[in-house]
């Protein structure tokens, strides 16, 4: 039970982190919109559906992803929210913005942590 609790806890914290990031970015970016939609539907449903749908999609995609490049693209799609529905070109752009936002968040969080620990 404690492990499950801890898992739930960490999940909630992660959700909080991502939702704050998404709120900051707004709907300007495709990944932000996708993540916002996912988080909102999660909130409404009250649980996380992610895993199930994910595996289904993976089965479909893996047939095509035989070459190295497509595997990488698929992996990138899995990482960037909303990447499943993007073309490669768009995926790269969204990845860039996503990286930028993540890095910003990390820097800020780290700075805040440092400040708080003083």
């Amino acid at each position: 039970m404690s492990s499950k609790d801890s898992h739930r806890r960490s999940q909630k914290i992660t959700i909080a982190a991502y939702s704050s990031m998404v709120r900051a970015v707004g709907t300007r970016r495709a990944w932000s919109r996708a993540l916002l939609f996912k988080l909102r539907s999660q909130a409404r449903r009250g649980y996380v559906v992610k895993r199930r749908c994910f595996s289904v999609k993976k089965r479909r995609v893996t047939k095509k992803a035989s070459s190295g490049e497509l595997k990488q693209a698929e992996k990138l799609r899995s990482l960037v929210p909303g990447g499943e529905a993007m073309e490669f070109c768009e995926l790269l752009e969204e990845t860039a913005d996503y990286i930028k936002c993540l890095a910003t968040q990390v820097i800020r969080a780290y700075g805040k942590h440092q400040k708080g620990s003083r």
Binding site: R23, G26, R28, L39, K112, H113
Partner: protein, 570 residues
């Protein structure tokens, strides 16, 4: 203390390169806690829709972060003036491409004496680099490479020059004009600019132009533009040193440049320029002459080969495409082209013979003239053209990503690059999780209400919301819903649920009656937090609440999550 050590240990396990950069930034972010907020505000300011603008504040934030050590070294405790200065800087940087503005240099110098040291770096080297970078940015809407942090402070003197942007823009498109027009351009500019800075920039440009021009004499009319583009690109992508080397020799030639714009005098400057550049030019000349004859020469070094390849390729595509397209193609192909086109049928075996050794180059090099001819026929196909455009777009994006991901400058090839990107994204996500959890434990705030945050209707009804505070603050202390009137019943239900699930392990469970009213008073340490119990408290949030309660876990951080200890600090 232990937590700090833990953080260091945890962080040390993460990929070192990225962590180093993060640490480097974080160190300065301490000083910049309020300023970084502004940066982020600038980042996510909805009015800055343009992609260039999005990258601009990011880079300006980086520059400000870089400049912060200067401030901290000067012992400036108060961030107020710093904020103002940096905000100004951000604004100036953002408006660099739009219009000329007041020189921030004097402003910054006035505010921060220590900053002058970094802003007044020798104007020759950074301006050259930034010239090309600005050009690059203006033309291609590319971000300034994130790794060139050092050059950013020197962007400030740039914006001091109001006409710089227009000149850069003009330089970018001078290839489409004839040389006399170019001369007229320079003459005009020269007369405008009293400053030392700009003539040097121009001389640097001119030195390139001269080399281009000498080539132009022998080669095609597109040579000027392409070589210039190629040289600029190479300067941007690879060699800053080349730039500085290039700029310095050109400084003494300033006077000569000022005198005459004729070909002869310009070509005279060429020998005075760096040998490397000259060598490149020679190589380019050779290449340009040889390529039309259908010969493939081995280049002495890779940069010239890049140029040559681009030039050659552009020659090939010259007949097919309009000039603007070509400019774009120039940029993208000269970039470290992720050869997705390797898969395309065009590349084939010819690509291997090609002068350049870069395996990641775009696949249309006209190695063998006859083969090129055949491929040309293919190139007119709409599908091929579209595919080519797509490939160029992808290479452009990959280049952008290369600038974002640290340590990817040396990486060539799309596959390796993609691997790096994937690793970096995963690492960033892990870091975000780790840091947010860490912050959540450090700050014993129970105000997490992500669902309300996400569901806009509830969010708006609250009124008080994280909108005021900066949303990126993952510690979420700002979600202070506490003072809502509907607390009573919800708290009751929430806490009762919470007590069942999470408090079970709590040693105080037995001591505490299951009564919300009595629950709150004993929590002295969290009295302030508990008074701000969120109004909408669902079952799922109990774990989050436990996060806030279970703070001060000295042992390993992930382990602390597992223990639902409610430490009441009396």
């Amino acid at each position: 203390m232990e937590k700090e050590k833990l953080c260091m240990n945890e962080a040390a396990t993460m990929p070192p390169t990225w962590n180093l950069s993060n640490f480097g930034m974080a160190i300065q972010s301490n000083e910049l806690n309020c300023t970084s907020e502004q940066f982020s505000n600038c980042f996510f300011n909805p009015s800055w829709e343009n992609s260039m603008d999005q990258s601009d504040p990011f880079e300006s934030a980086l520059s400000s972060i870089v400049s912060s050590p200067v401030a901290s070294n000067a012992g400036i405790p108060g961030n107020g003036s710093e904020n103002v200065v940096l905000r100004e800087l951000i604004g100036r940087l953002g408006s660099i491409c739009n219009s000329g503005e007041v020189s921030p240099q004097s402003y910054i110098n006035g505010n921060n004496s220590t900053n002058t040291s970094c802003y007044s770096t020798p104007l020759d080297s950074p301006p050259k680099l930034n010239l090309s970078m600005m050009d690059h940015q203006i033309r291609g809407n590319f971000p300034i490479p994130g790794n060139h942090l050092v050059s950013h402070p020197s962007l400030a003197p740039f914006s001091a020059d109001p006409g710089f942007v227009e000149r850069a823009a003009r330089y970018s498109c001078f290839g489409s004009r004839n040389f006399s027009g170019l001369n007229g351009q320079f003459g005009l500019n020269e007369s405008e600019l009293p400053q030392r800075l700009t003539p040097r920039m121009e001389s640097g440009k001119l030195s390139r132009v001269s080399s281009n021009h000498s080539i132009k004499l022998s080669g095609s009319p597109m040579g000027v533009q392409e070589n210039r583009d190629g040289l600029l690109q190479e300067g941007i992508s690879a060699s800053d040193k080349k730039f500085s080397r290039l700029s310095r020799p050109s400084t003494p030639e300033n006077g000569e440049f000022g005198d005459s714009r004729e070909e002869s005098s310009v070509s005279e400057q060429v020998p005075g320029v760096e040998i490397g550049l000259k060598g490149q030019n020679d190589a380019n000349t050779r290449k340009r002459k040889s390529i039309p004859r259908g010969k493939a020469k081995e280049s002495p070094s890779s940069p010239p080969s890049k140029d040559a390849k681009v030039a050659a390729e552009n020659e090939e595509s010259n007949s097919k495409r309009s000039k603007p397209d070509e400019t774009n193609g120039n940029e993208k192909d000269t970039a470290k082209g992720k050869a997705e086109g390797n898969g395309s049928g065009k590349a084939s075996g010819d690509g291997n013979q090609k002068q350049n050794k870069d395996s990641a180059k775009p696949p249309e090099p006209p190695k063998d003239y006859i083969h090129v001819r055949a491929r040309r026929g293919q190139a007119t196909d709409s599908h091929s053209l579209a595919e080519r455009v797509r490939r160029e777009k992808i290479s452009e994006r990959m280049k952008f990503l290369q600038d974002l991901v640290p340590g990817c400058n040396k990486v060539t090839g799309k596959a390796v690059m993609l691997d790096e990107i994937i690793n970096y994204v995963q690492s960033l996500q892990r870091q975000v999780e780790f840091l947010s959890m860490k912050l959540a434990t450090v700050n014993p705030r129970m105000d997490f209400n992500m669902e309300a945050l996400l569901l806009k209707d509830i969010f708006q009804s609250r009124g008080s919301m994280p909108h005021n505070s900066f949303p990126l603050d993952t510690s979420a202390p700002a979600f202070s819903y506490g003072y809502q009137p509907q607390q009573g019943s919800l708290i009751h239900s929430g806490i009762s649920n919470g007590t069942e699930t999470s408090f079970s392990m709590n040693p105080l469970n037995a001591a505490m009656p299951r009564n919300p009213s009595t629950l709150l008073p004993p929590i002295d340490g969290f009295g302030e937090a508990s008074s701000q119990v969120p109004t909408v408290w669902e079952n799922d949030l109990q774990s989050v609440v436990q996060m806030g309660f279970g703070q001060n876990q000295p042992q390993s951080f992930p382990g602390s999550m597992a223990k639902t200890q409610m430490k009441i600090e009396l």
